[in-house]
Amino acid sequence: MSDDCAEKTVETELEIEGRKVKVRAQVERQLPPWGKTTLVGKSMRRVDGPDKVTGAARYTHDVQLSGMLYGKVLRSPHARARVAELGLSAAAKLPGVLAVLGPGDVRGVRLGGQKVLSAEASYAGEEIAALAATDEETAEEALSLIRVRWEPLPPVLEPEDAMAPGAPALQPGGNVLGGGFGPQTPGKPEVYERGDAPAALAAAEVELARVYETPAAQHTCLETHGAVAAWDGDGLTVWESTQGVFFVRAALCEALGLPASRVRVLCPFMGGGFGSKNSADRHTLLAALLARRSGRPVRMVLSRREDFEAGAYRPASRQQMAIGLTRRGRIVALTSRAVNPVGAALEGHYFGSCVGPVHDFYACANVRTENYAILTSSPPPSAFRAPGHVQGAFALEQLVDEAADELGLDPVRLRLANLSANDPDSGQPFASNGLASCLRLGAKAIGWDSRKPPRAKAGRFRSGLGVAIATWGAGGGPPAVAQVVLHEDGSVVVLTGACDLGTGTRTVMTQIAAEELGVAVSTVLVANADTRTTPYCLPSFGSLTVASTGPAVRLAAAEVKRQLLDAASPILEAPASSLLVMRGKVRHAVTGKSVAVASIAASLPARMIVGTSQRGPNPDGLVLASFSAQFAQVEVDCRFGTVRVKRFVSAHDCGRVLNPATWSSQIQGGVLQGIGYALLEQRTRDPGTGRQLNAGLLDYKIPTAPDSPPEIEVIDAAPPYPANNIGAKGSGEPPIIPVAAAIANAVANATGRRLRTAPITPARLLAALSAEP
């Protein structure tokens, strides 16, 4: 890097899934925000919609290669066990089996510091051996021929057992770790303090202490985790159902000792991620290793059962909370002691910090949180859409409602009175903050003024209204590089490494490039998520894709436009500054004299214009967050203990909405997942063996069409956002954060009973209804 270049880089802050990280950023040309736009902000149809509605879209599951083998994994049936003896020879001899791997064959291979096959199972479902065969049936049969002599060990399934004196140490450092992420001191919780919460709590006019519990919830992507790996000499190509092709590549390069130039990872279409597909997984490595050993492409796709049993999840939590307030409803103290069972998590696993909302949601001078991650004999968890915040909001946003009830104050007003002008944690101002508007507009839309106290209700069916809020760091940032290519015929290709998880990334980037270039969207093609051909960016996680890659695409398009106008200047005999691009033509602003973009490109010696730009730094001293307030109207059937969400209003500030159609789809989807979390979803395990009891879609119930409210009203409550050149913040995660709390608050409003454990099942609700209030 030359000195000149080094001078142009600065340190900037980026927030990913609740973690603030420092990164270097190159200072790029500043672009003023768009004024009036013609394409951005419009509900343009999805560019990949026709492929998706006709079945033409090829997902990783659909990749078929000549000579492709089917890979299968032998998994531990025991939650904790040692493999005393492993006999692979019968499987290897079965006709049609072309490669078999045991732990001894992959000793040196590490994925994120962990083995990819283990002779010591630390959870039921852990990978022990793998093989590849010419067809699925042969692979299954070969698995049944593998002989294992197990030495089962007593599993440690509950956090209390793991923390008990004399509990077997599941890792050398012991079973107690701190917090939700990052390097941690074994044996110690992660502690956060501002002010003096214990003293403020003791001195508070009103104090409430409550305990909330949330379940382990699973991503349940309709496309299970999977990869197809093929070698060409010493080069590797992998199709992976992933959120981030570059993270997959990095993991493969590290594990296999390959240079990045020799590993190509692609993800043209993927069937859902929600945080569970941020990088390579063991199946990815096993596909690559089996393909290398057999000399044939290998497809390794997890069955639905495997996806549940060995797959990721949002960790459960038990949160002991306390709140102190003045009688007039000012929050003066908040504390939380949270315990999260995190299975066989190791450093590098990220699953979010459930105490984040306590730090971030309200102006409160005195906050103390203590966060424990407890190792158990269970699979490691992972990020899951707003990791940590969903479970934390379930607790905090009920606690605030309970305080409002105690004080006889309106929950919306209590929240409005305690919102913070600045980021409560850092004290720095927000770049923009529409949370109060979200609350006001949402309350109006749901008809909050008609809300009645529970005592006014009787009968079998009782209706209630509930509210909850969210904040979420969603400003995006570098690294994100984009390239825009104008071809000789005037057609445009936008190259970005970003995966489109179904959020509309391809469509929105099309709009941004077409808007900036002044060409029709039909001339623009977004080619994405291919490490060989597209430039670097982070995975599509942390609600950062639009706010990271969007500004880079606009800058790259602006660079192409600059070159285009320079080239048009001699043709139109006018300075470039007097020219603009409109509807595919370069036009003189005054005389109207014009020339087609295509004919300029064709006249160039290179026959093309290439613009490459990268995401610049975030502004110093400003906190970048998206905000949401959500409102649920429920009907409780007091006879059967069921809850129906009759109406839902979801109000958001995520800056400029680039495409209302794809945006509202994403918001509604987040709400639906929140409804599942509130009412339906929980991983259940056999208390003796630790094996999952509901590893299927009938028993692990995600919302179906009738579980959805008939309508989910989505409200844009955003003030202008000046912190990047497209004016947009992220919106992927905020919609799920407050949903479960809003529903629990609505149930409390309907029945007068508090359900502090999610999901709110009929059994729990009937028990609460039959108890004394």
Partner: protein
């Protein structure tokens, strides 16, 4: 264990029983020989090269493999390929193409009734079976009819809107 393995080994791929089938697949008479134990979904994806029907569970729980069998929506993972001889099968590839979309496909695009898209072929075919049987459903009827098709991205509200839109288009007199 060893004996069971030996029995299973006798069913090596070459020795497995196969059945000749002849069906009408997306309007074309199609002949194939399929292993007896193959589901319709396996035949479509592995042999017929039609990957629009997805495998989300292989257990009749998610609906991603929904196809029409003699006009009735079925889970292709729960029908044996051998059973389809002499019958009509329509997959999403037979409904329309990007250049010539069926009203249902068009409506899903207009209402943005999709996100990742993995469940969408199944949703659309389940909706087609509904509209073929009931041209004027209300929203509640649509929601019930599609309750066997999971969408984890959570598009249910817009899917119901799109199906109602398609129903209205299909009722237009010129069609």
């Amino acid at each position: 264990m060893a004996r069971r393995a030996a029995t299973r080994s006798s069913k090596s791929p070459a020795a497995r029983h196969v059945t000749q089938i002849e069906l009408e697949l997306n309007g074309r008479v199609t002949r194939a020989s399929v292993p007896d134990h193959w589901t319709l979904l396996e035949f479509l994806r592995k042999s017929a090269g039609l990957t629009g029907a997805k495998e989300g569970c292989n257990a009749g729980e998610c609906g991603a493999c929904t196809v029409l069998l003699d006009g009735v929506a079925v889970y292709a993972c729960c029908v044996l390929a051998a059973e389809t001889s002499g019958r009509r099968v329509m997959t999403i590839e037979g409904l329309g193409t990007p250049e010539r979309l069926d009203p249902l496909q068009e409506a899903f695009l207009v209402d943005d009734a999709l996100q990742c898209g993995f469940c969408i072929p199944g949703q659309i075919l389940a909706a087609k079976a509904l509209l073929d049987a009931e041209p004027s459903p209300d929203r509640e009827c649509v929601r019930r009819a599609l309750s066997g098709n999971l969408c984890r991205c959570g598009c249910y509200v817009k899917i119901a809107t799109a199906v109602l839109r398609a129903a209205a288009i299909r009722r237009e007199p010129e069609r």
